[in-house]
């Protein structure tokens, strides 16, 4: 690994700071008259071990916020500190290293490599972590087992149902043991039975492995599995508090 990369990793050494701290984060798309404030001064703090549901109307900035928290994108202004490190000043490569070592991301559209077996998809993050081939395979199989996909290791995305594909995506996100798992509408493309199964999996990961989970969802039924609900409106956090049990569908953990 290059000297620059090592320096980048040293800068993100974990401290006592909160896991995620957004303050006054703005994200502006476009220029001049067509400017859009996707985020207009968002403040959010997330600590280790939380299970946060993010809700809000369409276009309120949920995905933009997730992308910034996930270090896939950087704020236009304001501060985002991940484990005490100011993300806004990091280079592209340093962001990549943050994602590689601390973050797992699950997308609404799965984003698996086509024509690539489940186990190879799950191995991918480990390749970039320079994990040896044998160990890689072992960890990937374990992650697939953890999401309940034993026996499907050799299947390609086209041979798996939507729910199974999303499980592969989750296995890929957790195989590196990230400190935080970000899921942007993970149940958006799934029917309700599969959605419930997926939520139970997320709850289990949160409880038994202590993985912090931040999940965007429209559905109160899904949000009910979380411990805390943050509502976005017009690029800002409109409300933030413990998930109301009453809204749950009786599946409350």
């Amino acid at each position: 690994m290059s000297a620059g990369a090592t320096a980048g990793e040293r800068r993100v050494e974990p401290g006592r700071a909160p896991l995620v701290a957004l303050s006054g984060v703005e994200k502006v798309y476009g220029k001049g008259e067509s400017q859009v404030y996707a985020l207009a001064g968002a403040d959010l703090r997330i600590d280790n071990g939380e299970f946060v549901a993010i809700m809000g109307p369409s276009g309120s900035g949920k995905s933009t916020c997730m992308n910034i928290v996930g270090c896939l994108d950087q704020p236009t202004s304001g501060s985002y500190r991940f484990r005490g490190v100011e993300v806004g000043t990091l280079s592209r490569d340093e962001l990549a290293l943050l994602r590689r070592h601390y973050l797992g991301f699950v997308f609404q559209g799965f984003n698996l490599l086509a024509r690539t077996s489940a186990v190879e998809n799950v191995e991918l993050p480990l390749v970039y972590r320079r994990v040896a081939a044998g160990e890689r395979r072992r960890l990937a199989l374990a992650a697939l087992a953890a999401v309940g996909l034993e026996g499907r290791e050799k299947h390609t995305p086209a041979e798996l149902s939507g729910g199974q594909q999303q499980r592969v995506a989750i296995a890929r996100a957790i195989v590196t043991n990230p400190s935080i798992l970000l899921a942007d509408e993970p149940t958006g493309n799934l029917d309700s039975a599969r959605s419930v199964a997926l939520m139970e999996l997320l709850v289990a990961l949160n409880r038994t492995r202590g993985i912090t989970i931040v999940m965007v969802t429209h559905e109160p039924d899904m949000a009910a599995y979380s411990t805390r609900t943050v509502v976005f409106r017009d690029g800002k956090v409109a409300s933030d508090g413990p998930t109301s049990r009453r809204a749950g569908a009786g599946h409350a953990p």
Partner: protein, 401 residues
């Protein structure tokens, strides 16, 4: 890491079998065609030059050329036997001199009829042109001096007139002349020019002049120089002598030509080389088309590849790591295609060369050039989209349509 990247590249190639196959196909065809064309062309050049050399590099041909006077071209004066004798007498660097005259004539034996060239010359003709007897004898001193009706047959003529019958001592009719066959030439086969060197009948010059042509004209004088080194000198001496004998003013263009085989072989080599270049150019176009094919396929897969790059970057790959993988993939594909094309091109041209009797000439620089070009195209168009995509941020790359 490089090993892992290489393994990943192979996996990626297998995974996108159709795309890989089409990409490789362009390179295979391009490289194969260029190598085959140039190799065969080179083989032809070498064969032509070699054949001409076999005809004797110390052979000179003295022939009357047509003189140009304004727009009208007038046939130049023929030579005579005296011209040939003068060359033999006065030019120190010649060994054999064979004055010849020939004409296409029909000949008959029994009920068989055939038309071939009848050449009148002296016995030195055999030495100058490199003919040998298969059977019988060549002309005697008396036969040549008196102009007796005797002839020696080329193998093709013998076959046409006699088939399985014995030709020796038979009498054939050449034009109006009844002529006894005293010998048969050993076959020389096809010349480089593709004409049959056995398709003629030789008779004494005096016989031909008196009984066939009815003139004392000599059409061409074949001369062999003492050795290969003296052809230039002999040529100069013959030119000077002939200018004098034909009274050509100093500085005026001669109405005859002295050609040596080296000149002819050089001309031929130039022609075949030009042909090779032409074929090579055609093949180069196919290489180019192959390159464009590669380009197409690579560009068509940009969308998919861009998303793939987005995915890889989202899970923690740095831009240069993604790029490295694509570079390795493109190199592996192009090199595989190049090697396959090289193999096919060489094997194909080897087979064709064997089939048509051309020498197989390996031209490493052409092989390398074709290979390098196709590899460069493959790699450039493999990397180009990847480079563009790796500059996007992961979200943009993932959203790419």
């Amino acid at each position: 890491m490089l090993w892992t990247t290489l393994v990943m590249a192979f996996r990626e190639i297998r995974r996108n079998a159709l795309r890989s196959f089409l990409t490789t196909l362009g390179i295979v065809i391009g490289v194969g065609a260029v190598i085959a064309m140039v190799t065969l062309g080179q083989g032809a050049t070498i064969k032509v030059t070699g054949d001409v050399a076999k005809m004797g590099n110390n052979l000179l041909t003295v022939s009357p050329g047509s003189e140009r006077r304004g727009a009208v071209s007038v046939a130049a004066t023929m030579f005579t036997l005296d011209d040939a004798n003068a060359i033999r007498r006065d030019v120190s660097s010649v060994r054999f001199v064979a004055p010849t005259a020939s004409r296409a004539t029909s000949m008959v034996y029994a009920n068989r009829n055939y038309t071939a060239t009848v050449t009148g010359s002296i016995n030195a003709y055999l030495d100058v042109r490199g003919y040998a007897l298969d059977r019988g004898r060549i002309f005697s001193e008396t036969e040549q001096r008196v102009g007796m009706p005797v002839c020696v047959l080329g193998e093709t003529v013998r076959k046409e007139l006699f088939g399985a019958e014995e030709a020796l001592d038979a009498t054939i009719r050449v034009g109006k002349l009844a002529c006894r066959v005293v010998g048969v030439f050993a076959s020389k086969g096809q010349s480089t020019f593709g004409f049959d060197q056995d398709d003629f009948v030789l008779m004494p010059l005096a016989t031909f002049q008196r009984r066939i042509a009815g003139t004392t004209d000599v059409g061409a004088i074949f001369v062999s120089a003492r050795d290969e080194g003296s052809t230039v000198k002999a040529k100069r001496q013959i030119e000077a002598l002939m200018r004098e004998r034909r009274r050509i003013a100093l500085g005026a263009a001669p109405d005859f030509a002295v050609r040596d085989m080296k000149e002819i072989s050089d001309t031929l080599a130039t022609i075949t080389r030009a042909l090779t270049a032409l074929l090579g150019a055609v093949a180069a176009v196919s290489l180019l088309v192959g390159g464009i094919g590669i380009m197409n396929i690579m560009l068509v897969s940009v969308t998919e590849r861009t998303r793939e790059i987005g995915i890889r970057m989202a899970i923690g790959a740095r831009a240069h790591e993604v790029l490295l993988q694509f570079v390795v993939e493109a190199i592996v594909l192009s090199v595989l295609g190049g090697l396959l094309g090289m193999g096919l091109g060489l094997a194909g041209s080897f087979a064709v060369a064997r089939l048509v009797g051309l020498p197989f000439v390996l031209m490493p620089e052409v092989v390398l050039l074709a290979f390098a070009f196709s590899a460069a195209v493959g790699i450039a168009f493999g990397i180009f989209p990847a480079r563009k995509a790796s500059r996007l941020n992961p979200i943009e790359a993932l959203r790419h349509e």
